[in-house]
Symmetry: C3
Subunit: 326 residues, 3 copies
């Protein structure tokens, strides 16, 4: 059923063509991505960290928005699959000569490349490109506006699965700037699909979208209440660089109300996991003792990010079987 509905991301055979969003994918497919990542996690720990799966393929990192961290993880994942990687920073490219996005895409695809990894400040940019590229090219969304960041969501649920096994009894709190966060939106979708028992969003009224309940989440404006009994806390970065208005009174007051401290964490389940997509603002949304503490899996998330990106890239190239799932 899903394969019929989501023909942009998956071909008629059910295999991954583009990876743009987790929304609309089914549980078996998300499990398949995580199982594939499991097979790559060991590669990353070997002495020779390369597999020849994508040898001779050309992957283009098309970043319209600077992100060294995300670009780096995709570049590493591609190199460990033995692909050739081309970094195209669009701020210094032809678009400054007035070329349209579509002309840029058409030109690079004429160079016989195989995959675009796209980061763009506009919501929907990756979908737009996926709808217009040549049939043999795959598009991976590395973050588009406020819309989606699906590989981040997948590495988050992969990290949860590693620790908790499955999602059925799981209570998850996502805390902070939900309004500006493509990460939160993708995480909610992935957790829903995987059957999490309860998903809470926690934050000040100014940072929670009005219609968020329609996604099937519970809203809390008090941190202590929001954390009560949860198995997983996902802290979001306070996106200072995105906030144009007065969404919060001050960082100090924000921390007083929504900063995660060891004391506050006592409300959660004893074996709570603390997550954060990074980069963290120490003393703003999270206390260093928590970020560096034993409940934190923040650096494991980074490691898992490589395996998840290797999985998605190789599946989109049809080298990993994704058929028979839908």
């Amino acid at each position: 059923m899903t394969a019929e509905k989501d023909t942009l991301q998956r071909g008629p055979d059910g295999k991954l063509r583009h990876f743009l969003t987790v929304e609309g994918l089914d549980r078996a497919f998300l499990e398949l991505i995580m199982d594939t990542a499991d097979s790559f996690a060991s590669v990353t720990e070997q002495t020779v960290k390369k597999v020849p799966l994508l040898r001779g393929k050309t992957i283009v990192n098309l970043f319209f928005e600077t992100s060294t961290r995300t670009r780096t993880t995709f570049e590493l994942a591609a190199k460990r699959l033995s692909a050739d990687v081309l970094n195209v920073n669009i701020e210094t490219s032809a678009t400054t000569k007035g070329e349209s996005l579509l002309d840029t895409i058409r030109n690079i695809e004429a160079m016989h490349v195989d995959m675009f990894v796209v980061r763009h400040a506009q919501s929907g940019a990756a979908h737009f490109i996926a709808r217009h590229v040549a049939p043999h090219i795959s598009v991976i969304n590395a973050g588009d506006g406020r819309h989606a960041h699906p590989t981040q969501a997948m590495l988050d649920v992969y990290t949860i699965r590693k620790h908790k096994g499955d999602f059925h009894r799981l209570k998850v709190a996502i805390v902070g700037d939900i309004l500006h966060s493509r990460v939160a939106r993708s995480e909610i979708a992935a957790l829903k699909i995987l059957g999490a028992e309860e998903i809470r969003v926690v934050g000040p009224r100014t940072l929670i979208p009005a219609d968020i309940q329609s996604l099937g989440v519970t809203v809390f404006h008090d941190l202590a209440e929001g954390l009560r009994g949860v198995d997983v806390v996902i802290m979001l970065r306070l996106q200072r660089e995105r906030m144009t208005g007065a969404f919060i009174p001050s960082e100090h007051e924000y921390y007083a109300s929504f900063g995660l401290t060891e004391g506050r964490l006592e409300q959660a389940a004893p074996d709570v996991m603390v997550m954060h997509p990074g980069p963290i603002n120490r003393g703003v949304e999270i206390d260093s003792k928590v970020a560096d503490g034993e409940r934190s899996v923040i650096l494991q998330q980074v490691s898992h990010g490589i395996a998840i990106r290797m999985a998605v890239m190789s599946m989109a190239m049809h080298h990993q079987g994704a058929g028979g799932v839908a």
Copy 2:
């Protein structure tokens, strides 16, 4: 005879040492470059798009002028030949510490590199470097000032050959800003060498150099006249970023007089090819209907650019036989 005259580009054995300009090369040699490109065009379409010809070689992209598009095609061509590629952006390099061009070259060549791909705003820069590098190093001109852009010219004539077979009955119109265009100058030279029947340059008086007839071309200031009966139209980009004076009244008026539309194209031969080196200014020098229409080969030019650059790079490295030609 040519080999004797052009000892900078070709060694005593007639083989390619540097590729700086098409001027002075002979027809057999340009045909050899295109034949070599043919052998690489298939590589580019294979699943594994790599050949080990230049494995262990170091190619340095030495760009004194930003051009993501051109740098990208050279980087891809080099990687598909299995060379190691080093991108050196000279704006952020030692020259900002006051080092001379020659010192920069001497230093990089001391690192035992094998090839420089040079882009520079000064006419003659690639020749200057070729005259001064160590004997084992090849220099490829990726565009120098208003002087030459020989790989662009070669990919253009290669694209024409693919469609038209040979050049003897061919009428070609080059339209637009001839004055600032290194592309036009290189194209005229290549078409002359290959025996095109007639080469026309078309544009306003302010954008056509006064002495252009000396190159053996016919000048037209009226687009309809210039297009009459031609087999190939090469539109040039309106180099807005280069025009310091008032060369044209306005983009709107320019389009009214020299923009290529479907209506105007009716003056040309029924099977006319429309070419453009890119990036295109839609609605300035060319209408989108023409750029995206069935007579347009603009994206094929981009694809052919990879094959031509692979050919020139491998020939300059003496891995492709260029002997016995002169």
Copy 3:
């Protein structure tokens, strides 16, 4: 003894773990680095300039200070060892989002990388990182503040050894801006360890640190005296971009007093070698006739830089035996 004192750079087995400074290393160990470089010097001159020693390893160039020249030599060295190289320019990275140095390090190391090559404006930055990285990661100091630039010092002594054989009868003059030079400090340490007979520092009072004699060098404020009878002259770059105060009256006056000319060089031994870490300021600290003359080994230094960096990188990865030395 050294291995016990310097447990940060060398493991309990005496093998290289990090390469942060030459200070504290012993003579046998510096000789071992140079012997290892000898084995790579030939690689660099082969047709296929690669060895598979570090295949599948990931080396991160972590440059907090721009240096195309140094970054390029490390990148080339790494590629010739078949490693994957990731260039991380920290000015455009997460630190602009307020992330701390340690968080940046922790994040990149979570991506299962194997080596950091670090350049930083702060003295001690490489040591700081080495003390905090995961046990399997090596750190190479590519220049930290005014503190050390150990691979530059090693390529300098390696160049001297190539020409002079050994160091016992050697008189060396280091001339110029000693105060701002991490290169000078590392060179003095390396020459001391290798047993050079006499090390002189030559320059105006304003550019020589007050306590420099404690390093075991002789100070000269007159160039002719300082050069008398020396076997090696190492000219330093006048670090104009670092001088915030009025250290020198003018470049012209500096050249009149401390610029190296052919005339002044007559004070030195007949077979004197002239060295410079580059990039050179022609007509400021050195005359072109000397820089390009037959006594100059400036470009050889650049070539040797690749071999030395290959040696240090491969030793730090434990692929070259460094045991049994301490």
